[in-house]
Amino acid sequence: MKLNKQLKKQIDLAVKASFNNGKLNEKKALEFLKLFKQLPEAIQALSLYKKGLERELNKTTLVVESATPLSQGEIKKISDKMKSLYTIYSIHHTINPGLLGGLRVKIGDEILDDSLEAKIKEIRSAIII
């Protein structure tokens, strides 16, 4: 079943209402979940709401990727630097050996890639063009 425009708009509003200054209001989110559960298009509505929440959460979640493990001090340094530029409520650190070296930092749609993988890709692109 396809969602109508009106419902999509309401889900968008519910997503925005689920956050207070960029922070997730869990109580409100639960209320909206219960509400959408009762709809005939519950699966689609809940899926859309979840995607909206993830999108909004990503805006305030700092994802740090590195080729080798980072110390707590290094993660703190990164988070402090990023907090001066963005609103950050949570931090995720993942190890990705594919980066070969350096860091890749993501927040929302922003990506700051200073990894060796990205540099090699740049060199490859420079050769191809």
């Binding site: 340094k77 070969l100 350096g102 860091l103 200073d114 060199i123 490859r124 050769i127």
Partner: protein, 164 residues
């Protein structure tokens, strides 16, 4: 008078009879011979005259026809010459056009060929670059993992943190 006639041996009665005979004969000849003969001659003369006239007319017509024929022949010759000249001119024009078109076609074909060669060369260069890029990237990825020490990794991270 009678003496003179008698001296010459002329019998007046005989003379009168002979004169009368002569006149009768003259009348008969005139009536039955000269007149039809003259008529036939006259008719023949007329016929000859008519024939001559017709011959003249025929001659005249013949001359006229001949003149007309000459005139038409001259006209036809002039016209034929004109047609030949025009045909030659047209043929020359067609040949010239064909030459121009052929030259243009050849030029276009050459241009297309050159363009195609250029495109193919560019494509080959692009493919070569792509392959070279892949080889370089792969080599760098392989080498980097082995060459970088833990210290290098830390330094890289520190530099990135500094640049944030």
């Amino acid at each position: 008078m009678e003496k003179i006639l008698s001296d010459f041996g002329v019998n007046p009665l005989l003379l009168a009879a002979q004169t009368a005979n002569f006149l009768v004969l003259l009348f008969i000849l005139k009536r039955f011979l000269y007149k039809p003969l003259l008529k036939v001659l006259e008719e023949r003369k007329e016929k000859i005259e008519q024939s001559l006239k017709q011959a003249e007319e025929i001659q005249e017509t013949l001359t006229k026809t001949e003149e007309e024929k000459e005139k038409k022949l001259a006209e036809a010759t002039t016209e034929a010459r004109g047609l030949i000249e025009e045909a030659t001119k047209n043929a020359n024009q067609i040949i010239a056009q064909a030459h121009t078109k052929a030259s243009k076609d050849i030029e276009e074909m050459l241009k297309k060929g050159q363009e195609q060669i250029k495109q193919e060369r560019l494509q080959m260069q692009q493919e070569l670059r792509g392959e070279l890029g892949d080889i370089v990237a792969l080599a760098m990825e392989k080498v980097t993992g082995k060459v970088l020490t833990e210290k290098d990794q830390k330094e890289l991270i520190a530099k990135t943190v500094k640049d944030l």
